[in-house]
């Protein structure tokens, strides 16, 4: 029982973290058809901004609960700022290029942002552990879990719901769906596709930064963290199906639970299972588990 609860909780917590990272990546791909390598940098910028802001805030002697608002604020401001700059400054002039070219462009952005991060924050690690410990912990079947990690499950569920609601129950979401299905026809019908792209990219960047900001309290924020997570995020969205928010959720759950089972039952396979699952999915359903196969337009 103890083992089963530990495996399930670990799997779901890890999946929540993965989903928060992958949500922005899959959203951007779904709308813009850009496999955004720079998403890892958004994550890193969010983590650095969150850790810095929490550090300044707590050093000022303010109430510790406000640190959570700082994490949220840092993610929104830094993600929006970087998102606007990149979309307006670079991507906008590259729209319409081949998907492979866009991968190279965003990879270049990733490399540039990695150095920008070093220029701004240096190479020393940043810590913002107070929000992580402040919530305390909960014991389940004799195993303690940090309440902060449990809260991540609710954050991920909220993001998932908001994305679903925003895409399916709002006017802007329906316009966005029209762009996703056929951007040329959407443009003919008077939808401002460029504006839709800008909004989507900024939301995706904010989600990436939010993932980093929410992760910062539990880790040592240091150079290279963005590069590490982007590979995992790709595995998640490939399993679920590129461009599908529901797919990202299922991909995150599959990866989270498979990894957790491996850690508890056969630790040597911990890394293998993630990419093993991805390989299996690609072999039998190359478009991912939840993506709808579409005919290529000529």
């Amino acid at each position: 029982m103890k083992l089963v609860i530990a495996m399930l909780m670990d799997g779901v917590i890890y999946a929540s973290w993965l989903f928060i990272i992958a949500a922005g990546l899959t959203l951007i791909y779904g709308v813009m058809r850009i496999l955004n390598m720079a998403h890892g940098s958004f994550y890193a910028i969010g983590a650095y901004s969150g850790a810095s802001l929490v550090g300044f805030y707590l050093a000022g002697g303010y109430p510790p609960w406000g640190a959570y608002l700082m994490l949220l604020g840092a993610a929104i401001v830094s993600g929006a700022l970087v998102g606007i700059l990149i979309e307006r400054g670079l991507l906008r002039i590259m729209y319409g290029r081949d998907e492979v070219v866009m991968i190279l462009v965003t990879y270049a952005i990733l490399l540039i942002l990695e150095d920008v991060i070093k220029l701004i924050w240096g190479v020393d690690a940043y810590f913002a552990y107070q929000p992580y410990t402040l919530l305390g912990r909960t014991k389940m079947a004799g195993i303690s879990f940090a309440n902060y990690d449990i809260a991540l499950i609710f954050v991920a569920a909220s993001i998932c719901f908001l994305l679903w609601w925003g895409l399916n129950r709002t006017r802007q979401g329906k316009l966005l769906q029209a762009v996703i299905h056929d951007r040329d026809t959407a443009a003919f019908l008077g939808i401002n596709v460029t504006k839709m792209f800008s909004i989507t990219f900024v939301i995706g960047a904010v989600l990436g930064a939010l993932a980093g900001s929410l992760t910062a309290p539990g880790i040592s924020v240091m150079p290279g963290i963005g590069v590490e997570v982007i590979i995992l995020a790709f595995a998640v969205v490939v399993i679920g199906g590129l461009g599908s928010v529901g797919g990202a959720l299922m991909g995150a759950l599959i990866v989270g639970l498979a990894r957790s089972a491996a850690v508890h039952l056969y630790p040597e396979a911990e890394l293998f299972v993630i990419y093993g699952v991805m390989g299996l999915v690609l072999a039998f359903r190359p478009q991912g588990l939840f993506a709808i196969a579409t005919a290529r337009k000529i």
């Binding site: 190479v123 810590f127 992580y132 912990r137 195993i143 240091m222 508890h264």
Partner: protein, 429 residues
């Protein structure tokens, strides 16, 4: 026409001459390649402290500001000019970077390398280029156990002693020990560390149960599932050779979940985090510092100078990578100057190599004996203690020092073989 030709020829000649002349150093300049992590996850905890230490020591050496036997200016009177290279990028890149340092930059020698993977990759290039290369920090014992080199030296001790000494320490601190678990990074350093620890512990305390051994990916950052596994498979002691951000994340996440409340962590590189995570390391956590460095360094004149100067300049205490960098530079300097005593003028690389072999010298961490790996590998004493923050400042208690001959294999025997045979010849008293 002729005048124009002469002008062009003269100009071309001057350009060629200046291009040829560029790499030639001033006779009194010693160009030293320094390779350390300046980016990536290892930069903050290791690379930058090592670079800071190098900057400080080289400036002081160039000014002739150190006490004897390091009082001669620079290296053998030649002003040291550092050429830094970022160690990030992997072993293949480092092999190319070493070639660049020698062939393009024209360095006299190289001090560097923190990663075990890099330390296994660069010696072959150093040998080919006949360039004196001092490995200052990496831990894998395989460098000189699997091969022998003429131009390569390692002035830092191997990771074997970290883990053998940890076993001795646990045996003393936990007389009723019956179980251990481990969490180490999934690459050579992590696997070798666990093998050395588990092997030596089994010889010192037979029949200790291993409840679980975890090998997460390096730089994973998230250890929720591993922490749960360590809780489900509870043990008296958790062994970890995690370093840098991975160790810090593991400490933060484990502490928040109460992992260390009824299990004691042995962090073989924990000393490097004791100031960075001040107040966040659980009381009683066993900390190693990869040798007698940092808070475990002896109270000698060199250590007093180094520690004070480092804190004054960088506003933080030097951790073990900083000590090991100084140790590497000191070894190179002494060997060069020792070689110079026997020859007229500047010694050749081969002269320095001969002088470096079996050299015994003092550093801020105490005595360094180049008595392993055919005189190319250093051995030192190893120290462990338990973290305490009761005084309001980070400190260590229950400090135990283990002589080099207690925690290192004898010359000619590999670490694995030595541990498997029950550590014969170990002199621990």
């Amino acid at each position: 026409m002729i005048t124009s030709f002469v002008k062009k020829s003269t100009l071309a000649g001057l350009l060629v001459a200046s291009a040829v002349a560029q790499p030639v150093l001033a006779a009194d300049e010693y160009k030293l390649g320094l390779v350390t992590f300046l980016s990536g996850g290892a930069a903050g905890p290791f690379g930058v402290p090592a670079k800071n230490a190098a900057d400080l020591v080289l400036e002081t050496l160039n000014a002739g500001g150190l006490p004897a036997p390091y009082n001669m200016k620079g290296i053998n009177g030649r002003t040291i000019k550092p050429v830094y290279v970022d160690e990030a990028g992997g072993a293949t890149k480092q092999a190319s970077e070493l070639r660049n340092l020698v062939e393009r930059q024209g360095v006299d020698s190289v001090v560097g390398y923190i990663s075990s993977g890099d330390c296994l990759a660069v010696p072959a290039v150093a040998e080919e280029l006949k360039t004196l290369t001092v490995l200052f920090d990496c831990g894998t014992p395989r460098v000189f156990e699997d091969s022998s080199y003429q131009y390569v030296f390692r002035t830092g001790p191997t990771a074997t002693m970290d883990n053998v000494a940890a076993s001795h320490y646990i045996k003393e601190m936990f007389p009723k020990l019956d179980s251990v678990s481990g969490i180490n990074q999934n690459y050579s350093f992590g696997h070798e560390s666990w093998a050395d620890f588990n092997g030596s512990l089994n010889k010192l305390i037979p029949n200790v149960e291993v409840t679980t051994k975890q090998f997460p990916k390096i730089y994973a950052g998230q250890y929720g599932a591993e922490i749960s596994a360590l809780m489900v498979n509870s043990a008296n002691v958790i062994h970890s050779s995690f370093w840098g951000g991975d160790m810090e994340a593991f400490l933060l996440q484990g502490s928040a979940r109460g992992l260390f409340e009824d299990q004691t962590a042995v962090l073989t590189t924990g000393e490097s985090a004791m100031y960075r995570l001040e107040g966040q390391i659980p009381e009683g956590t066993i900390l190693g510092g990869r040798g007698p460095f940092g808070i475990y360094a002896p109270d000698n004149a060199l250590n007093r100078w180094f520690r004070e100067a480092y804190i004054a300049r960088f506003e933080t205490a030097p951790t073990y990578p900083a000590y090991k960098m100084v140790q590497g530079i000191f070894g190179l300097k002494l060997a060069t100057e020792k070689a110079a005593e026997k020859v007229k003028g500047q010694p050749t690389t081969e002269d320095v190599v001969s002088a470096f072999e079996n050299l015994v010298y003092e550093g801020p961490g105490g005595t360094v004996s180049m008595n392993m790996g055919n005189g190319h590998q250093a051995s030192m004493e190893m120290v462990y203690g338990r973290y305490s923050h009761k005084s309001g400042e980070p400190s260590v208690t229950d400090v135990r020092r283990y002589p080099a001959a207690c925690v290192n294999p004898p010359e000619g025997m590999s670490s694995i073989e030595w541990i498997e045979k029950g550590m014969p010849g170990a002199k621990c008293n």
